[in-house]
């Protein structure tokens, strides 16, 4: 990889962030299934080259043992390291939920602040590639519902780089969600060594009539909807949460306080999702100042289907975001 290519895809950006973190700090270690070079540097090659560069002590492939992977990450963090563990696909986090939610998230509190778990869990997911019901889910709400764990995701390669660095050097456990289809999307290269702070949303586009709030790949759909709305004479603000939990309520309430209308968009199923929490927070804080009820756009409430037309209609898209926005605008 050259020092600074003009553009990178998200896989390269993530690889670069891991590389730069490991180079910066000897306590950063990386392990998960198939991720060292003898096993291919990851099933898609995201971690290629790391074990050759940093050695097979700090970069390790593991057996297919999600509880053992996350447990080892927790213990290594308690022992003074900054582990970056990988759960190959987000659905497989279900196998390790005891370690993640009962232990990683709670040890700081239950120990009265004596211990903490500065571990990053990288995990990949996303519908759209025909991987069906157990390889595609967005499960961020499960983790967002547990105090003590942060949930972070990105909408561009450069953000993947800066946010992953912040996750690695954060003092709390962080679930870092990567998206399968965006792995191959290119964008401007990140500024090497520059962290993007956690807990702060990014206002991608200023607007006055409606706020479109999203995170992850769906930010790009929200952006596309905003461009369409502009043609209709509507000024839409687009906010990328970046950190899903704990989210940046200040930026959200400031935005919706100005626009009076909001659509919250995520790929995860709409029911009991992050959008419900944010909509409720907006309603509680801004009731009386809202010009219409908050709208939510999410995946339909079913397992992610395989068949292409079913999968396509399961997922949110710009047209559905537009429809929700028009409804909020009374059009």
């Amino acid at each position: 990889m050259s020092a600074k290519p003009a553009t990178v895809n998200a896989m390269q950006a993530i690889n670069l962030a891991l590389h730069d973190a490991m180079k910066e700090d000897d306590s950063v270690i990386v392990f998960g299934e198939d991720l060292a070079d003898p096993e291919g540097g990851g099933v898609l090659g995201v971690t290629k080259g790391l074990s050759s560069t940093f050695g097979d002590s700090r970069v390790r492939s593991t057996p297919i043992s999600e509880q053992a992977i996350i447990g080892a990450g927790i213990g290594a963090a308690l022992g003074g390291l900054r582990p970056v563990t990988e759960i190959m696909l987000m659905n497989f986090a279900a196998v390790a939920m005891d370690m993640i939610t009962n232990h990683a998230a709670k040890l700081r509190f239950m120990s009265g602040g004596q211990t903490h778990v500065p571990m990053t869990i990288r995990t990949m997911t996303g519908a759209g590639a025909g991987n069906g019901g157990q390889h595609s889910d967005y499960l961020e709400a499960w983790f967002a519902h547990t105090a003590g764990i942060k949930v972070v995701t990105y909408s561009s390669p450069a953000e993947a780089y800066g946010l992953l660095l912040s996750a690695i050097f954060d003092e709390d456990p962080v679930i870092f969600i990567e998206n399968l289809t965006t792995y191959f999307v290119t964008g401007p290269a990140p500024t090497r060594g520059a962290l993007i702070p956690l807990g702060k949303a990014n206002v991608l586009r200023r607007g006055t009539d409606i706020s479109l709030i999203s995170y992850g790949f769906m930010v790009n759909h929200a952006w596309a909807a905003a461009v369409e709305l502009e043609k209709e004479g509507v000024s839409a603000e687009v906010i990328d949460l970046r950190t899903v939990a704990p989210y940046d309520a200040e930026t959200i309430l400031d935005s919706v306080g100005r626009t009076g209308r909001v659509v919250i968009v995520h790929e995860a199923v709409r029911n009991f999702g992050v959008g419900a929490e944010i909509a409720a927070e907006i309603a509680e804080a801004l009731h009386g100042r809202l010009k219409s009820a908050p709208r939510r756009v999410g995946g339909s409430f079913n397992a992610v289907p395989f068949s292409k037309p079913l999968e396509t209609s399961h997922m949110p898209n710009p047209a559905r975001i537009l429809a929700a926005a028009r409804s909020a605008l009374g059009r």
Binding site: E24, Q67, G71
Partner: protein
């Protein structure tokens, strides 16, 4: 110095001191709970005192221990002060975890007690990570994972032992087999009839030992500790023992045959070690009563300290949930363009 196969008298006396401290704490905690002085959920380790006492004399404060809800014996043996445990049990702000963890989550890093879990089997995956940290850092620390026989049937057992073997981690898996998993008999619910035998399929030595025999337990633990420190990998120890109480305080243990329980109590391992010291090591009764009097004082003081300590205030609810805001610990730039 100890001979090759015998701990010397001073080591056995120290094992006895630790075991007697556990026994006394247990008796006073049960009395405090039954009299209404303290309201707590409590899992008595009575009957299992020798296992961590004989193991922990081979460990330093730097060595790590992960244990489970029935873990006060492991914590006391490793050196956690009685008063920190009592105050935590009482839910007071002076407790080891400011009262926020409670009996099932005692944590005391200064003595290496890093995790006490309320989930069966969950001590093992985390102990691996502590051992991994020591291995990568190139330090001599080792990690001990305590668990019960019931945990040998949960997935974390297989995942953890396999990974520990694959990575040759400096970890010791100590199965304290008290023959009951909650209310269920080991014989009825554990196929193969042996936890230690499972080690063979997982690439590590598996040793069955009478965990109530201080000398035997000391020997087996010494070998496992030496292996771990030498970088020779993990060991699974199945320490046979028996639980004198029900699964938790208030459980009448009606599922344990009375005869089996009576026989175990008659062979009280703490009293057996006491008699052994007098009969075979020429230890004077006066020496033992001196140790016991000091323990009595320590536990009385711990109880008084706990019950006179302040309760945590409600602001503690929202502290220690996340890291306090502060600078990120890296030399990389934290002022990224958006």
């Amino acid at each position: 110095m100890a001979s090759d196969n015998q701990p010397d008298t001073s080591v056995l006396l120290e094992i006895y001191r630790r075991a007697a401290l556990i026994k006394k704490n247990d008796e006073k905690i049960i009395a405090a709970a039954r009299s209404g002085k303290m309201n707590l959920i409590y899992y008595s380790p009575r009957g299992q005192e020798i296992i961590p006492s004989a193991l922990s004399v081979h460990l330093s404060d730097d060595d790590y221990v992960c244990t489970i809800y029935r873990g006060i014996h492991d914590q006391l043996a490793k050196g956690v002060p009685s008063k920190s445990i009592w105050a935590e049990y009482a839910g007071r702000v002076t407790g080891s975890c400011k009262g926020k963890g409670g009996p099932m989550h005692i944590t005391y890093p200064a003595k290496g007690v890093m995790v006490t879990t309320g989930v069966v089997g969950s001590s093992m995956p985390i102990a691996n990570g502590l051992a991994l940290a020591a291995q990568i850092q190139g330090v001599q620390r080792i990690a001990v994972a305590n668990f019960g026989d019931g945990a040998s049937n949960i997935g974390a057992f297989l995942e953890s032992l396999n990974l520990a073997s694959v990575w040759q981690l400096p970890v010791i898996f100590v199965c304290q087999n008290n023959l009951y998993a909650e209310h269920s008999s080991f014989r009825k619910f554990t196929a193969g009839g042996s936890v230690a035998q499972r080690a063979e399929g997982l690439g590590m030595p598996g040793v069955t030992v009478d965990g109530n025999d201080a000398v035997a337990m000391w020997r087996v633990a010494r070998e496992a500790v030496a292996r771990a420190r030498a970088g020779e990998g993990p060991t699974l120890i199945e320490a046979m023992t028996f639980r004198f109480q029900g699964h938790l305080l208030g459980d009448d243990a009606s599922y344990i045959p009375a005869e089996q329980l009576r026989a175990a109590v008659e062979k009280d391992p703490v009293l057996a070690l006491r008699s052994h010291l007098i009969a075979h090591h020429q230890v004077r009764e006066l020496t033992l009563t001196g140790i016991e009097a000091a323990i009595e004082r320590e536990v009385e003081e711990a109880q008084a300290f706990a019950l006179s300590s302040k309760w945590p205030t409600p602001d503690e609810l929202l502290t220690d949930v996340w890291a306090a805001p502060g600078p990120v610990k890296t030399h990389l730039s934290t002022s990224a363009p958006t």
